[in-house]
Symmetry: C2
Subunit: 380 residues, 2 copies
């Protein structure tokens, strides 16, 4: 199911192939996020053109709207949204703990109220797996508890205990035909909890392992630490998935630390704010310097937007709130994430990943927030 094709000799980077019910995925892979059964502003043809191998769907959101009655009648999520390639669904755990306003943690899941209309809902291992079975995703995630990064030690410990227990319960639920299930390791930045959680999940023989409890507001050094504390305890012959991350540079850093799979809303979310991702970092399209710039969003980029439109044109469209601006920024940003992954795979295959890694990080200017977090970490 997962073939480890090559391990880099100088870093922990890995080249792999994950076979699912809807086809094979070459790893390292970036998975565009289609929370509500659509990757925001992008259509399936554009996704295929930019080299998308697998997309994400969201259990929490899809269960509320459109609801499982419609998904079931449509014949599952693939047919509902007309996407024939693999889909990974998260379990809804993250949203229950981040979005739902009122919640009560019980032995077999969480009672909460919908963030849309306040109606009472219950999500636990049994329910999350049943929804994912109805969605018919190729990869289902276990239902976990994901506390904020600054949660007190006792809460982190309780979350790990519940995550382990719920993972066991998820393991026992029926699956859709050919559906893979991944476990999720929690534990914040606590080495003992990370090790304990990983060591409890590995014997359950999940098809892959995710590192959760990252992308929950923690500074970058803490995020790297969480991954470094978890990775050594994960089996080499299974794919590793860092949830909800990150910038292109962070993805390359995490690949060098042994991670194979990523998902992130950043490329489409910042597109809607007029931010452009490049191999050198981000820039703001609205800035005056782009007013008369008749070059593409990023020099040398081969995406649909860069082959057709100039910065000056897209800046104008963004300023006058034309949807095509957001469409094309979403396409460009997503393409960049996917293309960096393709370049990483080629570099690992050619034994040049450590050079690629060094050059990519040297060329990428992180945001001020990331730079400040790094400086603070060094002072400690």
């Amino acid at each position: 199911m997962f073939e480890l094709l090559k391990s880099d000799s100088l870093t922990k980077a890995r080249l792999g192939r994950l076979t699912t019910a809807h086809g094979a995925i070459e790893t390292p892979v970036f998975m565009p996020v289609g929370t509500q059964a659509s990757v925001k502003a992008i259509d399936p043809r554009e996704l295929l053109e930019m080299g998308t191998q697998i997309i994400l769907g969201n259990t929490y959101h899809l269960n509320i709207r459109p609801g499982m009655e419609i998904i079931r009648a449509a014949g599952g999520l693939h047919r509902f949204m007309n996407w024939d390639k693999p889909i990974l669904t998260d379990s809804g755990g993250f949203q229950v703990f981040s979005l739902a306003k009122i919640r009560k943690i019980k032995t077999h899941g969480v009672e909460f109220r919908s963030h849309i209309d306040g109606s009472p809902l219950f999500l636990g291992p049994k329910e999350a797996m049943e929804i994912q079975r109805t969605l018919g995703s190729d990869i289902a995630m276990v239902f976990d508890e994901c506390p904020p990064h600054d949660a007190p030690a006792r809460e982190q410990k309780l979350a790990v205990e519940r995550t382990i227990r719920w993972a066991g319960e998820c393991r026992e639920q029926p699956r859709a035909a050919g559906q893979l299930v991944f476990g999720i390791v929690q534990g914040g930045s606590n080495p003992v909890l990370r090790e304990e959680c990983a060591k409890a999940l590995v014997p359950m023989e999940f098809d892959g392992y995710a590192i959760g409890g990252v992308s929950v507001g923690e500074p970058e050094p803490e995020m790297f630490r969480a991954v470094e504390l978890t990775e050594p305890f994960l089996p080499a012959h299974k794919p590793r998935y860092a949830m909800g991350l990150g910038t292109p540079a962070q993805l390359v850093e995490l690949i060098a630390r042994g991670v194979d799979m990523f998902d992130c809303v950043l490329p489409t979310r910042v597109a809607r704010n007029g931010t452009v991702f490049t191999r050198k970092g981000t820039y703001i399209l609205k800035n005056a310097e782009n007013k008369m710039n008749f070059g593409p969003l990023e020099d040398g980029c081969e995406c649909f937007a860069c082959r057709r439109f100039t910065r000056a044109y897209l800046r104008h469209l963004y300023n006058v709130q034309e949807i095509l601006a957001i469409r094309m920024l979403s396409v460009h940003n997503s393409y960049l994430f996917l293309k960096v992954m393709a370049d990483v795979r080629a570099a690992i295959a050619n034994d040049t990943f450590s050079d690629f890694y060094r050059d990519f990080i040297a060329g990428y200017r992180p945001t001020q927030r990331v730079l400040l977090a790094r400086a603070a970490a060094k002072e400690r």
Copy 2:
């Protein structure tokens, strides 16, 4: 420049070909509207796929944003927006009279304040033609005065006088290479004014003639009357363009009355409100009956959206405010307008237009507003 290929024997419908600097246009033709240098929510590839022959750009809006400095630096509107087929630009007259808040009509144009930032601007025959020269449109429109449909007789008369005078001034301005210029007939629903305006403009030998002063809030019978009062005075060997109209059924009605060209924001505007155009009329996508409808937006439609997505899916996307919903409704609605024109052209060519006309109107259910206006007109 305009070839009248065929005239229908039973109606006034005409088959023609208009040759422009960026290629030939088969008429009757529908022109999607790209007010701000983008047909809302649709990209140029999608426009080409749906059979778009020519699009509209807007002098008033483009002059404010991005402004002519940027358009000039880009090398004109075609290059700015990466559209190689014909473009028609309106003169800004309509917007000056409908959008600009404070205005003062002078001998050589209108002083007004931008609806965006209140900055003082002046637009008249000279300015409008100069902007359209910079835009480099294939068809430029003269600067006219377009009063509301309920304007008093004296105002209508003054508007016609100014429109004639300004048309003469436009005629004398320099043009972009190969640029055609169309005159615009005003006069509301007053037979004398319509005749007077047409008879004054025809000797000026414009490349085509538009019927203006329609789509300004008048009930449908009054709109048809304005066209019927104007058409007999227009030369047969020049294209006729009814500005800002209408529904698919109205387009077919107007073709039967001798009109060749149309533009309208309806297909993309109502898409953003979740309204779907079909050959049977419109429907509201949100309605509960579409909840579990796994057929296309319109049965038998071959558009990009109908070949890929179901009503149930697009209804879900619309409900959760995903951009893909508005994109696909805009594509479907625009495709329908273009396809009806293609069917009309085939019917005229095959001598079956009068059958097509009868069947199309019989099958199309107008909106309640149109039905009420028709009933009121019959009672008179």
